[in-house]
Symmetry: C2
């Protein structure tokens, strides 16, 4: 079982390699890649050994070779369909963000208990009623969802999504979601981010 | 120097204590509090010893006592002013979020190079031109900022904010910001969150 923190770091290494590729750099030493990613070289080497043998001693890593190897491991080399549930203030801003598609994720449909067509104006994402959620997840075999419903409704929506086949959830509602062991939830709590920052400006 | 991860966990303990308070629970054992927070009891005890002696052996912790001690440590018992820069799709959604105020953070002003008044309609937050940024930060002695400008402009905006006195930044732009050692940046990269999730649905 690979620790989640290692997977986060893989994404960070991947971002650094993409920037090197844009600057036409072909090889990079583990010291230089580690510094760009903000980790120690021993941590970088340890993380990569989970996935295979990369680079040659003394020569460093081949930038495009390592980058496509990491894309393979992360599953980001193929476009993954994602649904979004709760098309309010935050949900509608996330629908308009082009950065997900660039990294290999496409929001294929958005669901709301009271859909407001203007919130999805000009987008190709289909806006659907919450009552269509289960059927859509099953028919399209969707595994990932972004949850931007009010805290009060979060758990009930998650229960329905998991029963229909969702395995991974990016949760913005400030609640601790209860899910079976095999379901993975990443929480984004923006108020907690500010609380973390405020400690350091004493 | 207390690790940042310890401070994150303090916020999580705080959320659990608030839920216990809402359910009129007066004392809690370290095992029960650790389980609610998703950590081991040894981790909970180790984190709390950074800040003082809490609880009595055998009796556990006094819920409201520990909660106000943590609020004191986190600085969340007094309202902190925050500014937001970049009032586009994401920025305008964050402006409307009531959850920041509940946790002790007030967005006192929002800045944009092309302010669109409709984006701040109905809100008491002042919408100002980007040219007013430095003067506002200095006059109001603002220490924290939320950054929701396009990646292309993120570094130049950060340079101006840091020069004016900002010490902590919550960054949403998908760029690695370069800041002096005493400035703290928390990055929220939503595409990376999805990448992290997608690994686990293999
Ligand atoms: N807006 C922000 O910046 C922000 C920041 C941090 C966290 N959050 C959290 O994100 C969530 C969404 O916030 P928001 O500001 O967009 O709220 P919002 O009220 O603007 O939007 C919520 C949407 O969810 C829909 N909804 C309610 N119940 C539903 C259900 N059962 N199925 C499908 N849709 C349902 C509503 O119709 C509404 O459109 C909240 O939990 C909030 O705490 C928001
Ligand atoms: N929308 C999302 O859901 C989302 C999700 C993840 C990350 N992001 C990131 O957040 C940032 C904002 O995204 P968005 O979708 O809101 O973009 P947007 O283009 O809708 O908004 C950006 C705003 O910043 C303003 N701006 C540009 N330069 C500025 C400057 N120098 N000073 C002040 N304001 C300036 C623009 O006028 C515009 O209003 C981007 O970096 C994006 O990559 C957005």
């Amino acid at each position: 079982e690979i620790p989640r923190k290692t997977i986060y770091r893989l994404s960070i290494f991947q971002r650094c390699l993409q920037r090197l590729k844009e600057n036409k750099v072909e090889t990079v030493s583990s010291e230089a890649l580690a510094k760009a990613a903000g980790v120690k070289p021993t941590q970088l080497r340890k993380d990569l050994t989970h996935f295979g043998q990369f680079g040659t001693r003394g020569l460093g890593y081949n930038v495009s070779g390592l980058s496509s190897a990491i894309a393979g491991v992360l599953g980001s080399s193929r476009l993954q369909p994602v649904i979004l549930v709760g098309v309010g203030n935050l949900g509608s801003a996330l629908l308009r963000y082009g950065g997900f598609q660039k990294e290999g994720f496409e929001i294929v449909a958005a669901f709301d208990s009271l859909p407001v067509p203007a919130r999805a104006k000009g987008l190709k994402t289909a806006l659907m009623k919450a009552t269509d959620l289960t059927r859509f997840i099953r028919r399209q075999n969707i595994k990932m969802a972004i949850l931007t419903v009010p805290a009060l409704h979060a758990q009930e929506v998650v229960n329905e999504m998991v029963a229909a086949g969702i395995q991974a959830i990016l949760n913005f509602s400030p609640v601790v979601l209860e899910v079976p062991k095999n379901i993975i939830v990443n929480n984004v709590d923006l108020a907690m981010e500010l609380e973390n920052l405020s400690y350091f400006i004493r």
